[in-house]
Symmetry: C2
Subunit: 340 residues, 2 copies
């Protein structure tokens, strides 16, 4: 009868026994916290290696009152920008040594339940990319010392840090490009129940062209995404003698749909009108679209979001942050570069 393996998992106690030291020494070795002699550290590491020891994160988190989890709230991953943002967040979260918990949330109730569950796991932070967390819940997080950061959200909640693409600069870039291309009759396309980000871009765009004494026709799609943009185009073409020659869209999906919708009616960009979208996704660069867009810097957004969580984890009294992430104009076929 060989070794009687009753326990399914090997604990720090087992390692201590084998290395001939106390369990505290094992703990210190792995956390690099207290001081431990070089000789015993080696003994511990060898014993741990032989036994295949790995620390139990549940016990660790229970003791430290904090797990190395970060909660991420997402929605509508079918939008390429959103899945791209999630990918960026996952990579950055892992790079910093955390582990991501992801929840897809469809309404306010779901968001509430989700954040509550995050606190039950004692997460190190919460990243919200969809919805607006109720301030009472945020208070609960603050009490548990759990930092919350919103991405591309309306910045009106106390105790929440925000990271947001620079919509104002983006809208200005788009307006400048359209105007310098000679467009006279501008339009702004958005989903009628848009998120704050879309609305904000629209306001910034209107403000930008207002300085040139121009106004934008406001197109509001009944649906979100590709189909919404397509139908908006159909609706525009159906109206009597429209004369739009420059369109700015709240996001890439709407823009692609709008372009296809216009094509169905026999019009196209840049021949009949100029078109600029928001969110440079993989789709926008493809041959069949070649959309000129405002590009959001996903890597920077993700990095800044995690950075904020870490900073506030260290010092909870820091001032609330509002980070604007620069955007750039990517010129493609639907509104090409100017030729002097």
């Amino acid at each position: 009868m060989i070794k009687h393996r009753k326990k399914s998992s090997v604990t720090a106690q087992d390692v201590a026994l084998r290395a001939g030291v106390s369990r505290a020494a094992v703990s210190r070795t792995f956390t690099n916290n207290g001081s431990v002699a070089k000789h015993t550290r080696e003994k511990v590491l060898q014993a741990a290696n032989e036994l295949g020891y790995q620390v139990n994160f549940l016990a660790q988190g229970l003791n430290r009152k904090r797990s190395q989890l970060i909660g991420v709230v997402v929605a509508r991953l079918s939008d390429p920008f959103r899945s791209g943002l999630l990918e960026g967040l996952l990579l950055e979260i892992q790079r910093q040594g955390y582990q991501a918990m992801v929840t897809e949330v469809r309404n306010a109730d779901g968001l509430e339940e989700t954040i509550r569950r995050f606190t039950q796991f004692r997460v190190s932070g919460v990243i919200v990319t969809s919805g607006q967390p109720p301030s009472e819940l945020v208070n609960e997080c603050v009490q548990h010392n759990i930092p919350v950061v919103g991405i591309n959200r309306q910045m009106d909640i106390k105790d929440v840090d925000f990271v947001c693409s620079d919509n104002k600069a983006g809208a200005a870039l788009a307006a400048q490009q359209l105007l310098e291309s000679g467009c006279k009759q501008l339009a702004w396309l958005n989903y009628k129940d848009s998120t704050w980000g879309g609305i904000n871009r629209g306001e910034c765009f209107k403000h930008a062209i207002d300085q040139h004494q121009l106004q934008a026709l406001e197109l509001l799609a009944e649906q979100d995404g590709y189909q919404g943009g397509r139908q908006a185009a159909h609706q525009l073409c159906a109206s009597q003698n429209w004369n739009i020659d420059g369109v700015f869209c709240a996001n890439a999906q709407l823009a692609c749909g709008f372009l296809d919708g216009m094509r169905e009616q026999g019009f196209s960009a840049p021949q009949d009108f100029h078109l600029i979208g928001f969110d440079d996704t993989e789709l926008t660069g493809q041959y069949s679209y070649q959309l000129t867009t405002i590009r959001q810097n996903i890597d920077l957004i993700a990095k800044q979001a995690v950075l904020n969580l870490q900073a506030r984890g260290r010092d909870n009294t820091a001032k609330q942050r509002f980070d604007l992430v620069p955007v750039t104009l990517t010129l493609r076929a639907t509104s090409p570069a100017l030729t002097d």
Copy 2:
């Protein structure tokens, strides 16, 4: 001086104190496990409600040796099919009362590290949608009684359950459609370092047309995704007098790229050739592509995967499962329905 709130979080002990019962009663109330009188249950629930008590999942998991987490391994979310699959998995995982931990993994080492970390969190199950977990790691999971299920993976690992779209049926549907449409010279397009799923589809396709004494020209793209398909088209057109009139692609991204690449050369479907892809993503249905594709049933895949985890969680001795999920042919412009 009011209540001295020293503890940041309220525990079951606090609830017990307020309700005038023992802590065990509180625990029993929330787990529905032991038996508890109706009267005391109500007292406990009221006290818990007043104090805003929520069970600490770390402590719960530590005690039960199992958390209500499910680990999900993903990769390349920029592919719409993969992000769609993740979305389906998230929704199903939440629907069943679990919480998803998601990790993006880029190579075999990353996969190993990831699964190890999952076990450290004592997850209730692992879902692998990318990469092939080393069998030694799977053994470790089995020892911890953690079920593993692979989606669209090669089914060659012991103790792992598999859920896979029915590639054989899909390939047969594609072959039938192309042949009945009158195609004579078939081609098969795949990425040169494809995953097993792609390779498998190709073999099934070749087998299907072999029964009609036909062979497929094998096109292997240097890159994966849209750009790979596009370059493959360019390469095909560059070759002397090619005469392909029917193409089947390993996935939707390749197919869209191939279509665009052919368009750049002045050819299109279905006029010059028929084209069928795999993975009915949102992209394939758009006006500019209208791709005929084999549709994978994401909801069913997700449901079956979680179901398998639950089943094996209850009975670890069950026989290894290989589930084939039906696929359907979605007819669109690039290979339209037959007209009698």
